[in-house]
Structure formats: structure tokens, C-alpha cells
């Protein structure tokens, strides 16, 4: 189309997305162009079978082929990658996939697309990690990886989002992977079910844009901050003890709270980690991570947000 801005979207795909887009009316009456959730699924399903003559036949063939992914055999469930392709195409056309509708004011269409194209690496899948991962996936961060070698035990049940009666004894990374498929299939999620040493952290952080320190305990936090600095990526870190918590952003080679705390015991050993403080810290961490990933200035760089839910006090201090 002469004069039209190139969106890089396949012409066939663009035609289908435009044909199925609708105007959704926000509670305040404003209209916004939206691709309804089930149409994203429908379009993604057909992309997933591109090259197949008929859906039924391709499923039958897929079932007989060893090495075919399980999702290809399942009727009705599009591949995550295809969902991501449709969502990216819609956003590039200025059409918001319905699942992100209530993000529309917090993140512009361009920012939502940037989030889908962004990459974040999360270390720790306990209390902080579970909630943070959940929030980033729902926000639509397109590439997430998370590492934790731990398995769920009963004392995780007070706060860890993916700790359930069913997941006890299983790898936290496996539970996270299962949850990601349920929550947002457009997220390409890479679980790593082992603990990372310095070298492992370096490998894990290669190619990512942001590191999230959701570790439990102080032992490895300073090491992770050093590896994030070496990788040249900002680090968002959070920690909790009792009703208190902190969140900070550490730019490469900047000051990190863990530098002051040492690698010994923390106050959490005596005060525990109750869910409200953990979820508060994780939410702030996720909010800051999304700021950074969609290209805004980090708000907590060189600073530390402290909160105390026993006093309901929040304060941001300069490190």
C-alpha cells in the first residue's frame, strides 16, 4: 500500500487480524481496537499448522511422528510461539490483544510490543520468584527464564505461589513451567532446575536484558550482582524479613544492598517470610522490571525502597 507505514506483518496475517479486530469500550466509554482472546487463539492455531492440508490430517500425522511436540498433537491448543506471533502482529498494527486490555493505560501499544520482545532472567523461584514470574508473564514479557534447583517443601506453602499440595516434592522450575503454559502461552519460558554458581550465572545471564534477584538468603546475592554487572545488565533485587522488605535496582557496578549485608544470616532467619511482605516486594520488583524492560528510566537505581507492613510505611532511600 503506497504511503502506508511498514509494520513488517505478513499480509495474510494482517488481513485476518484486521478482519477480526473489534472496538472494545473501556468502562470510561473510550473505545480501543482489540483482537479478542479467542480470535488470537484461532489465528494462532492455523499458523501452527501452516503447510498442513487439513487440521485433522495434520494432527493424525503429528501423532504418528516421534519427536513432534505434544502441543502439535493436541487439538485446539495453539503453539505458544504462534500465539506470540499473532500478538506481536496485532500490536504492530495498533491492535491490542484482549488479554492485555487492562494494561492499556500503564503500557502503551508500543511498550506492550517492546515487552513481548524483551528478555528477563530470574534467579530464584521461591516466594519472590513465583510472584515476580507470574506478574511478568501476565504483563506479557515475551522471553523469560528462571533458575532454581530447589524442590517444594511444606514450609514453602505459606507464601510460594507455585507451592501446592500437588507440587510438594517436585522441582520449583517444573511447577513454574507448567504454570507459564497455563497463564500466558505467548511467553517463551526457559526453566532451569539447578542452582547456579558464578559461572552458571554468567551463562544464564548471557543474552538477557535484565536480571531479577529473587534468591532466598544472602549467600549468593553479591555474586549474582557481580555477574549481572559483568553481563552489562541491570539487576532488580528484593529481600524480605518479617513484615519488612526492600527492593533496589542496581545498574552495572553500582551499589547493591547485598554489599552491606554480607553473606551470613539475615533477619529472616528469626523473623521468617510471611506472604504479604513477600508478595509486596515481588510486586514492586515486577513493577520496576517492567519499567526497565519497556524502556523507561529505572526508578530505584542507586536507591532502595523500604517497606514495613507492621507500620504500613514505605520510604525510598539513597544508597
Amino acid at each position: 500500500m503506497p504511503g502506508a507505514k511498514s509494520t513488517g506483518v505478513d499480509a495474510q496475517l494482517e488481513k485476518r487480524i484486521r478482519a477480526l479486530a473489534q472496538v472494545a469500550h473501556l468502562p470510561d466509554g473510550r473505545g480501543i481496537s482489540v483482537l479478542p482472546f479467542y480470535f488470537v487463539q484461532d489465528i494462532a492455531r492455523t499458523i501452527g499448522r501452516s503447510g498442513a492440508r487439513s487440521g485433522a490430517r495434520s494432527r493424525a500425522v503429528a501423532a504418528d511422528l516421534p519427536g513432534q511436540s505434544a502441543s502439535a498433537k493436541l487439538p485446539g491448543r495453539p503453539k505458544g510461539q504462534s500465539v506470540a506471533t499473532v500478538e506481536r502482529a496485532a500490536l504492530a498494527l495498533g491492535i491490542l490483544p484482549e488479554r492485555y486490555l487492562r494494561n492499556h493505560d500503564a503500557y502503551s501499544l508500543e511498550e506492550q510490543l517492546t515487552l513481548l520482545d524483551s528478555r528477563a532472567a530470574l534467579v530464584g523461584l521461591g516466594g519472590l520468584g513465583g510472584y515476580t514470574l507470574e506478574l511478568l508473564a501476565r504483563a506479557g514479557v515475551g522471553h523469560l527464564k528462571a533458575a532454581d534447583g530447589d524442590e517444594f517443601v511444606a514450609s514453602n506453602l505459606n507464601r510460594q505461589l507455585y507451592a501446592t499440595r500437588r507440587s510438594l516434592g517436585g522441582y520449583k522450575a517444573a511447577a513454574a513451567a507448567a504454570r507459564m503454559r497455563q497463564v500466558n502461552p505467548a511467553v517463551a519460558f526457559e526453566p532451569v532446575a539447578h542452582f547456579l554458581d558464578a559461572e552458571g550465572m554468567a551463562r544464564f545471564l548471557a543474552g538477557t536484558q535484565l536480571c531479577l534477584d529473587a534468591l532466598g538468603g544472602l549467600k549468593d546475592r553479591a555474586t549474582l550482582a557481580r555477574q549481572a554487572a559483568k553481563a552489562g545488565v541491570p539487576l532488580v533485587t528484593a529481600a524480605v524479613a518479617g513484615q519488612c522488605g526492600l527492593v533496589a535496582t542496581v545498574l552495572p557496578f553500582g551499589t547493591c544492598p547485598a554489599d552491606f549485608f554480607g553473606a551470613g544470616a539475615g533477619a529472616e532467619d528469626s523473623q521468617g517470610t510471611p506472604a504479604p511482605a513477600v508478595a509486596t516486594a515481588a510486586s514492586i520488583m515486577a513493577g520496576e522490571a517492567l519499567n526497565i524492560l519497556c524502556g523507561r528510566e529505572p526508578k530505584l537505581a542507586g536507591k532502595m525502597l523500604l517497606f514495613d507492613l507492621s507500620r504500613m510505611s514505605f520510604e525510598t532511600v539513597t544508597l
Binding site: P257, F260, F261, E268, D308
Partner: protein, 75 residues
């Protein structure tokens, strides 16, 4: 002169009843205040005066907000 005092996390148990207007004298520092409250020096990992990181030896002034923070690493 008075300061506002906040003891975080495991240090909260040392919070005096008059933390909102805690009396200090000229020459007092975060370190001397912490000692008077009986807080073991090794438990204090971060000190903030008026929202900025400070040393235990920093002089305190009337109206300052002092925050004392232990090691916190739970997740």
C-alpha cells in the same frame, strides 16, 4: 533536640517508646544512639539519615530521621 528513629525488621525490638521524638544531644551519632538502645553493632548493616545512606559516626542534628537496618535476605 529530637530525632525520629526507625528500627527495621529484627531491630524493631529495640525501638524505644519515644521513637517519634527521640532525645539526642549534640555530638550524638547513629552509633551512639544504637549503643544507648542496646543494639549490637554487628546487627546494624545499613544506616540512613534523612533518607540517605550514612556512617555510624555521622553527626546527628535536630529533626533528623534516623533509620537502622539489619541484614535482610529472605525470599
Amino acid at each position: 533536640m529530637n530525632i525520629t528513629l526507625k528500627c527495621f525488621a529484627s531491630l524493631a525490638r529495640f525501638t524505644p517508646p519515644d521513637a517519634e521524638a527521640y532525645p539526642v544531644s549534640p555530638g550524638d551519632t547513629p552509633g551512639s544512639v544504637a549503643a544507648r538502645l542496646g543494639i549490637p553493632a554487628e546487627e546494624i548493616k545499613l544506616v540512613f539519615v534523612n533518607g540517605t545512606h550514612a556512617e555510624l559516626s555521622a553527626p546527628l542534628r535536630d529533626g533528623d530521621r534516623l533509620g537502622l537496618f539489619p541484614a535482610v535476605g529472605g525470599g
